[in-house]
Amino acid sequence: MEGRAQKHLALIIARELASQLATATFIADAVGNLVFYNEAAESILGRTFAEAGSMPAEGWTTQFQLEELDGTPMSLESMPAGIALLEQRPAHGALWMTGLDGERRQLSVTAVPLFASATECVGIIALFWQSAPDDA
């Protein structure tokens, strides 16, 4: 019981918020480790968080196959969650994602860095939803 590392309070509260939302929500820590996604996200990502578990950035960026709208592979640097993480600024975009259930879906994503203070980014939160091409 004593060995569990304490997450930053902002991440804890972000997870609490996500667990209350019907909007698909994904949370990563400051180094990009996926630390949580909610029930609403499970149907889009194709697997429950309990089954998928936490994973490093290189894990989720490859397991969830992301593509630009023209079908070219999307790098971490150009995806909204990657921009929020690497450049520490909000980002929004549309993309294709093939979930762990093998289904390809078009998504709109808005990602925001979580600053606990002016200089301390403790992670990112990304909200996403399925969209039609004109919605992007």
């Binding site: 019981m1 004593e2 997450k7 309070l9 997870r15 609490e16 209350q20 029930e39 499970e42």
Partner: protein, 282 residues
């Protein structure tokens, strides 16, 4: 109308039988609420529910109000004797998630490999109710359910009649990210459920020393329980959801500390729930 409560389980997280927990008990949450006209509501379906079910008489409809679906609050359901009586009418009220109904969520715990029998194969006539947003009534008791701060969809319940009101918030971390002293009541998790009740059964899993390493686990320290009760102006505070590692002597120390925090001139001092305890109100 008045209430008579009997505590059948008040331990948090996991059952804790053994010599160190004899006085307060090791069964997980379950509280029987009787009205003076014979009505019955059951709060939570922890392991305490098994013993309650074994001594229930009559064959009328039963209503279980479940706060949330962590196992310590539903573990007793599968061994609740009325579940195994053909045609017995059971109503289970509780929180849906943002995506799934209460029935879908409970069915997961009531099916292989976690349990050998499918929920649909049980002989009782079971109806699941996602709790409504507005208050509702069962047997003359007004019931209000609100989401409170705890991981996953979790409810607090307020039961009231024309003569008494009680609140049941067994799993609750109202201080997560906030200072209760600084908040307006409408920003305090659970406040509307507990405000001005005669009796509050509230989470008190941790000591003040333990809490800092357990932030976000969804539970209160003794200081949080007392402060929450004071902010809500409750009449009596009953400390509930005892930590599984807390011995009887340890709970005595928690109660002593709660009394210090409560103050001498503030009415009834807090007590700790124990199995077999009965409480009457008004």
């Amino acid at each position: 109308m008045s209430f008579r409560l009997t505590v059948w389980g008040c331990r948090g997280s996991i059952p804790t039988p053994g010599e160190a927990t004899v006085r307060f008990g090791g069964n997980t949450p379950c509280v029987e609420v009787r009205t003076d006209d014979g009505g019955l509501l059951i709060l939570d379906a922890g392991t305490g529910l098994r013993r309650l079910g074994a001594q229930l008489e009559g064959d009328g409809p039963l209503h279980l109000l479940v706060t949330h679906l962590h196992l310590d609050h539903i573990e007793g359901l599968r061994f609740f004797e009325p579940f195994w009586h053909a045609g017995r009418e059971l109503h289970i009220w509780g929180p849906p998630s943002a995506v799934h109904t209460l029935e879908e969520r409970i069915t997961r715990a009531f099916s292989p490999p976690l349990f050998p029998i499918e929920l649909a194969d049980t002989p009782a006539s079971v109806t699941f109710h996602d709790v409504p947003h507005e208050p509702w009534e069962i047997g003359g008791v007004r019931i209000e359910a609100r989401t409170v701060s705890h991981p996953g969809p979790t409810l607090g319940y307020r039961l009231s009649t024309n003569g008494a009101a009680l609140a049941y918030i067994p799993d609750h971390e109202p201080v997560l990210g906030v200072e209760l002293a600084d908040l307006e009541p409408e920003w305090i998790s659970g406040h509307a459920i507990a405000e001005d009740v005669d009796l509050l059964l509230h989470d008190c899993q941790f000591s003040e020393n333990e809490y800092p390493s357990r932030v976000g686990w969804g539970h209160s320290s003794v200081a949080h329980a007392v402060e929450f009760a004071r902010r809500a102006d409750v009449g009596r505070l009953v400390l509930f959801h005892h930590d599984p590692d807390r011995t009887d002597d340890g709970i005595d120390r928690i109660v002593e500390r709660a009394g210090e925090l409560w103050g001498k001139d503030s009415g009834d001092r807090p007590v700790a729930a124990c199995e077999g305890m009965t409480l009457e109100l008004p």
